[in-house]
Amino acid sequence: MLELKGVTLAYGPVTAVHEATLRVAQGEIVTLIGANGAGKTTILRAVSRLIKPKSGAITFEGRDITGLSPDKVVRLGLAHCPEGRQVLALQSVRDNLELGAYIRSDTAGIRQDLDMVFGLFPRLRERAAQLAGTLSGGEQQMLAIGRALMCRPRLLLLDEPSLGLAPIIAQEIFHIIANLNQQGMTILLVEQNAHMAMRTAHRAYVLEAGLIVAQGDAKALAGDERVRKAYLG
């Protein structure tokens, strides 16, 4: 469904990711783990076209998206829930969610999905009229995920959805991720919380200082001595 081939990414003269090659198949949860600064966010930002690759190709459902603008990629069915929540602080929770459905015009379907998101995150329904900036960190994370769902993506990119959350809320979020996947959504999950990520995902890639150093079945990788030492402590 999503394929990166030899993608090199740089900020100015500094290369952040070297020739990354990775693949996400329809129906999978794939996780990309690695220490802080390894280049995980950079890869996701390249997929949603916020940064241009130095070299390499990115295809989505067989289509080369390397030359598209970010908003076009969303229209192809790829949603990106960015790191650090990035809710629109100055707009209401409901407006944030409705803007998540910006590319759609099927009013009835949007209302239905709004109900679906409120069902997933009842806290958001209670706070629908509140400005998003006044939500707690966990609530903002729920809003960011809910907002990404509002465009009915076929592929969902999640960048550290558990970052800064209380363990119990993080667990809830991983539970929701697994559920979404069971309903047919393909997910690329970036995490520092390798434990939870490996348990939720089918396959995993391990990124170290911009290089993919290991990949494979999540359960098998979780058993790998080197990965255990570095990431599962």
Binding site: S48, L50, S69, P70, D71, V74, R75, A79, H80, P82, Q86, L88, A89, L90, Q91, D95, E98, L99, G100, Y102, I103, R147, C151
Partner: protein
């Protein structure tokens, strides 16, 4: 200091102040989306006034490349105003393409766009001078058709004159301000525009085309500029290609007074400065041009962020 005196100044102040507000909003819109002031806005203001003049009067002046030429038609004022505003909107789009987009695409420092917009302003003003000449253009007194020039109200002992043009100024401005506020606050595209202003990356991840909204913002901004240029031109005449410069500076005072980047601030700032000018005692009228800046100075001493501005943490 009678009631009539007070009402007369109120009428004068609100009508001109509402135009200041519309003009200033053009700066504010671009600023809230890009975080930069567009210094070509004053030139678009001038251009709008000239274009509307030609469309309404049907002929050019006595100097410049187009001297003595006539159009095969004359539009009624309302239509000319609309057409002039739309053309100014297109001029705004051109300003974006020339002064802002190339730098943005290269990720250049925002300050550079300030300079390039100043460059485009100079080009525009010189182009106007080249085409229209440097003379004064005055709208003919019958430009508003058969409407009476003023309505006189009796208030107690005194008289209050409401000039028709003042009603037009206030009416058109009010309509625009309400329309724009409604658009930004309540419509889907308005919310998307606010998303672009708050965080362009996040907006683009929602499928919002940031480039299209920046272009749209320059169009609306140019439209507001051209329209306010025409309204002021009809009231006071077009004093030459540089007539937008003084008003441009005044509008900058308006947005800083109201709070940089704040839309309600631009409206309030415009009205406050318009009223302050109107209520200036007649024997001090030689200081009229200094009023906005004096007011600005005093307000900034007390509230550095302006009347309705947020504290400086957002955009600079």
């Amino acid at each position: 200091m009678s009631l009539a005196w007070f009402l007369q100044n109120l009428v004068n102040g609100l009508s001109i102040g509402s135009v200041y507000a519309v003009f200033a909003l053009g700066y504010t819109l671009v600023f809230s989306v890009l975080g930069i002031l567009n210094f070509a806005h004053g030139a678009v203001f001038t251009l709008g006034a000239y274009l509307t003049y030609v469309l309404a009067v049907g002929e050019f002046g006595l100097n410049g490349l187009l001297a003595g030429m006539t159009l095969p038609f004359k539009l009624p004022f309302a239509l000319a105003l609309l057409a002039g505003a739309l053309l100014s909107g297109l001029a705004g789009v051109a300003v974006e393409h020339l002064a802002f987009r190339p730098l943005r695409k290269r990720g250049a420092d925002a300050l550079l766009a300030l300079v390039s917009s100043l460059g485009v302003a100079l080009i525009l003003v010189n182009l106007i001078q080249y085409l229209f000449g440097a003379e004064i253009y005055s709208f003919p007194s019958d430009v508003l058709g058969t409407l009476p020039p003023a309505v006189i109200l009796h208030v107690g002992e005194g008289l209050v004159a409401m000039r028709t043009i003042q009603v037009v100024l206030f009416g058109v401005s009010l309509l625009l301000l309400i329309g724009l506020a409604w658009f930004i606050q309540f419509t889907k595209q308005g919310k998307a525009l606010r998303a672009v202003a708050e965080n362009p990356d996040t907006a683009s991840l929602l499928g919002i085309s940031v480039d299209a909204f920046i272009l749209g913002t320059f169009f609306i901004s140019g439209l507001l500029g051209g329209l306010s240029g025409t309204l002021i031109g009809v009231s006071f005449g077009l004093s030459g290609p540089y007539f937008g410069v003084a008003y441009g500076l005044k509008a900058l005072a308006v947005i800083v007074l109201g709070g940089l980047g704040s839309i309600p601030g631009a409206v309030l700032g415009g009205l406050v400065i318009g009223l302050a000018e109107a209520f200036l005692p007649p024997d001090m009228s030689s200081f009229k041009e200094a009023v906005p800046y004096a007011l600005l100075f005093i307000v900034l001493l007390v509230r550095p962020q302006g009347l309705l501005g947020k504290n400086a943490e957002e955009k600079v």
